[in-house]
Symmetry: D2
Subunit: 345 residues, 4 copies
Amino acid sequence: MKALVYHGPGSKSLDEKPMPKLISATDAIVRITRTTICGTDLHILKGDVPTCEPGRILGHEGVGVIEQVGAAVSTFKPGDHVLISCITSCGKCDYCRRGMYSHCTTGGWILGNKIDGTQAEYVRIPHAETSLYPIPAGADEEALVMLSDILPTGFECGVLNGKVQPGSTVAIVGSGPIGLAALLTAQFYAPAQIIMIDRDANRLEVALTFGATACVNNASGDPVAEIMKLTGGIGVDCAIEAVGVPASFELCESIIAPGGTIANVGVHGVKVDLHMERLWDRNITITTRLVDTVSTPMLLKTVRSGRLEAGKLITHRFKLNDVLKAYETFSQAADTHALKVIIEA
Amino acid sequence: MKALVYHGPGSKSLDEKPMPKLISATDAIVRITRTTICGTDLHILKGDVPTCEPGRILGHEGVGVIEQVGAAVSTFKPGDHVLISCITSCGKCDYCRRGMYSHCTTGGWILGNKIDGTQAEYVRIPHAETSLYPIPAGADEEALVMLSDILPTGFECGVLNGKVQPGSTVAIVGSGPIGLAALLTAQFYAPAQIIMIDRDANRLEVALTFGATACVNNASGDPVAEIMKLTGGIGVDCAIEAVGVPASFELCESIIAPGGTIANVGVHGVKVDLHMERLWDRNITITTRLVDTVSTPMLLKTVRSGRLEAGKLITHRFKLNDVLKAYETFSQAADTHALKVIIEA
Amino acid sequence: MKALVYHGPGSKSLDEKPMPKLISATDAIVRITRTTICGTDLHILKGDVPTCEPGRILGHEGVGVIEQVGAAVSTFKPGDHVLISCITSCGKCDYCRRGMYSHCTTGGWILGNKIDGTQAEYVRIPHAETSLYPIPAGADEEALVMLSDILPTGFECGVLNGKVQPGSTVAIVGSGPIGLAALLTAQFYAPAQIIMIDRDANRLEVALTFGATACVNNASGDPVAEIMKLTGGIGVDCAIEAVGVPASFELCESIIAPGGTIANVGVHGVKVDLHMERLWDRNITITTRLVDTVSTPMLLKTVRSGRLEAGKLITHRFKLNDVLKAYETFSQAADTHALKVIIEA
Amino acid sequence: MKALVYHGPGSKSLDEKPMPKLISATDAIVRITRTTICGTDLHILKGDVPTCEPGRILGHEGVGVIEQVGAAVSTFKPGDHVLISCITSCGKCDYCRRGMYSHCTTGGWILGNKIDGTQAEYVRIPHAETSLYPIPAGADEEALVMLSDILPTGFECGVLNGKVQPGSTVAIVGSGPIGLAALLTAQFYAPAQIIMIDRDANRLEVALTFGATACVNNASGDPVAEIMKLTGGIGVDCAIEAVGVPASFELCESIIAPGGTIANVGVHGVKVDLHMERLWDRNITITTRLVDTVSTPMLLKTVRSGRLEAGKLITHRFKLNDVLKAYETFSQAADTHALKVIIEA
């Protein structure tokens, strides 16, 4: 079968690889119909993710059709259409039982990282019954690819952890795909204000069409002053960090209101300065989270009911044969204005 | 001044009454600009509310302008535009400190009940600093009358207590003003389904324009079967009782899903049958609540930001001189299709 | 093997039955070392539980040793000592993923009800990995039998649902085993008062030794007046119903403070009167629950750390050969003062 | 009257000062019967608190007797025994209404900081009705001095924010008075383990008598390794920082389990390094808080019911005339083994 293979920092190719086989009785083999590329795939290609070794098929998102199931799988059968969660969950370890699938002792983020992933014609999914979700007949399957990772990540790590509530004031630092996913799902809770912050004018324009109530370009000027002005000098109830660098985290520290929450979504490579000398008496909360995808069943309901337009994040479409072009388009988002790119297998 | 006075069961008139005076240092006198009529006012007129004695000026909703303040009032001054809460709160008793203003030991629902109310040219508001809310310049003051009672009631007693969440299935039994207030505010949380149940076809039509996803007319047929069909045989996550009679409460008992919540909003005059022989192992929650108006500051923000169209509930407008006609219109809602009627003073 | 078999209303015997066999790949066979009798077993013997058919081996509590595991079971192996949960949980259905194991679509309360139970030498446990808990070396295994059902039931249905908090005032109606289990676990939260109510003077004496701060005998006198006096006329923050009859539920309705919670634990056979005409504006919550045993890992930690003396509930010990005598002792608790009886297999 | 006055960094004296007078109608004058010294008083004396100007009477803790009340004070009268909260709360601003008294717009921590404090014979208390608590007849008033600041601080900032639960594993870094206050109140929730960390062997010994289950001396050795060993390699569910320096905060970062909470109590003067490169995917929460004293009514109940032995923190007693000696004893705690020192006025 065809698969996009990582060959070490800076190197990838579309290769012919053997079909995956069932290893455990709880596995399933899924024929991929659509997958996509994540910012994390680019991190791997930079050599930033040591757990991912050369030879690995990349990708942890997608929808497809069950091809084969292990002996212990009773809730899925060949032919079933399924959504693949980026997080593999056994359903039985202490973490899974507490809803913290990201830390599953035999799962977590392993697809396209520690085991072969979804940017291929077929993929093996361990713990299939608790890591796949049935797709109802008639669903827009392309849009559901956004539920593998990006929408649950924006929602769980940003919106839920950030305790967005009706009437809240929210700032989202970073208007890339993940910030926009937080923007879309923040609207579940009717906040009064959602301020998007980014250095890219185009992304801020997109944010306005996605429901932002105000935008601040932090490429220049004094973004803290602008945000404080927009919030009557109080700051925001919820600041969502959707970039992953010290500067954007510290911006959140500067705009958070007393009693507010900083919800980190970004992947960080270095430490940040936490200004406890200013924050110790401000009654704030800071959260970190690797997405658990515990909200996937709920998100499926909001998509089905029309409350969440998941497909809005999709800007480009490619065939698996053109996956290298898809990577090029996605990685040059400033020029291509790409958000999420669909790859049809 | 002119005031609508209760003279005992079945009897009311627009009378000339003396101007209210400050009694306590924490009082304010408010000149009413707009008030409205509540279902509870009709209960009083039927003789159902023994705490309300003949001679009482009715009304517990409205907006107006501060005329005079007591010596201990520092946050309001004459000329300020204010929203009057139906619940008087001292801000210092145990209940107020826990956010349960409805049970304030020197307040609670006293306006137009134990003390003179708002259907008049002027009203005395005790504990003014914690029972009035400033109206920002440029606000639609008429719409804000809906924040005195009906919207916080629908929201707190129905939506908040009912734990409506993104993706939830909600049923609201009763599509009168209070059920519609719950319908409007339930949408803060992006539920997947909101099913309205009523015997009045017109009210159900209104509900559809207010955001209901389905309607069930329980004047005939098998409403339980219809609702179970709409929910895939599971029942609803949240059932809001917005009528106040045993039949509608028992309907909620019949449609609640395992793990769901029945949030009672209706005012009940008699006991109901609680079918514990069916419900003891269903993991359900039942809540009761007199509105606390603790959500008023938040609701003001959602109105200001356009998330809540409070004015949609207003169907008729009258001058204070025509208050008897306003009562007639409101009490014959089946014919007049009245929801909330505004009375301009 | 020997097993206690239900032969229809009023009839049971210790019979020779075939050894259980693995049916599904996720099953385990457990050699029972200790089991016990539950009030529900007596309900079955009265013919009150139609799902339990003649020929059924009774019992849903116990500890034992893994004898054999199905092909898909990887977390247990023969020789492991295990605690058996009264609730069977698949870990993968919607209810299990939400922590509501009681409503597992292929589990729930099935042991000694819809499938053969634990009052035998061996038992088959479906969904073994998510329905058994490993017993750490050196644990008091006899005491852990109390964690199969009675302690999680008292804790989850009574204490957790009742929102017992530091400084709370708690009333527990019913001082039998389940009420005492609630009493023991309520003390996790340092309530200020725990008032036990029962008609049996001996049980109230036991309650005082278990940590009750006051007792009310409701065999005569005016229990409501006594409880109101004990709480300064306010009533209790949390009332736990641990009997299952209308009178005790209505007692809870009469003593609940504004803002309080009635947590039902008792198994009810008939409806109760819910006095909504008094309660609609009292801001109360009523909960029902079949135990989910979602707290079992936490309870194991509290037992191990000495915070919970689970063994205190054990009053009598029998061999499996004397199981009929064990039933006699347990069912005549008023005379025998039995709480929980251990049966050694 | 006599009062301990701050005269600038390093300088204080017991001076004769004029009696305080009522300024606002909501004030009360309290005759102090007992007060104490806080670590924050030492910070002021070092010159670390710029809001506190020379000439200020220090102290923000104490109990006393109402001497005089303003015209708007109705819930207290001369002769009433009262507990003084370290936080002044108006009960009516947005922050107070949300239970965040620490950020009261006309209160917060002002006593002995922005206005004269309690280390004197008399003190003026603004917003008296919402900043004083009645002491019930027969209470141990000396012990209640611990409820002015130290116990609510340890409880709210450490235990509540840290979400200590039955069965939790807790580490408290810093075994001084505030760490010990967290230790005492953590036991409200029956955690399985409470590990105290300090460099002072005596303080760790005290911690063991106060209920710690293990102690780690971090003056030498590898405290992280020791704590990981005590927790089976997982780390702690809750880490309470009760020192206020970067090293102890970073220790918390190193021992927190996935899904855990770091609750900061310490007063910090400089920034700390937040290792987001390790923590971004650990699903942790970090909280900061200036005590709100919103838990004071609850703590009063736990003291009265015997669940909290507040007096255990008191090690020394002085007369107001010897207040300088009291300061000396408190500030040299390593030698004197002082925890809290009572000053009788």
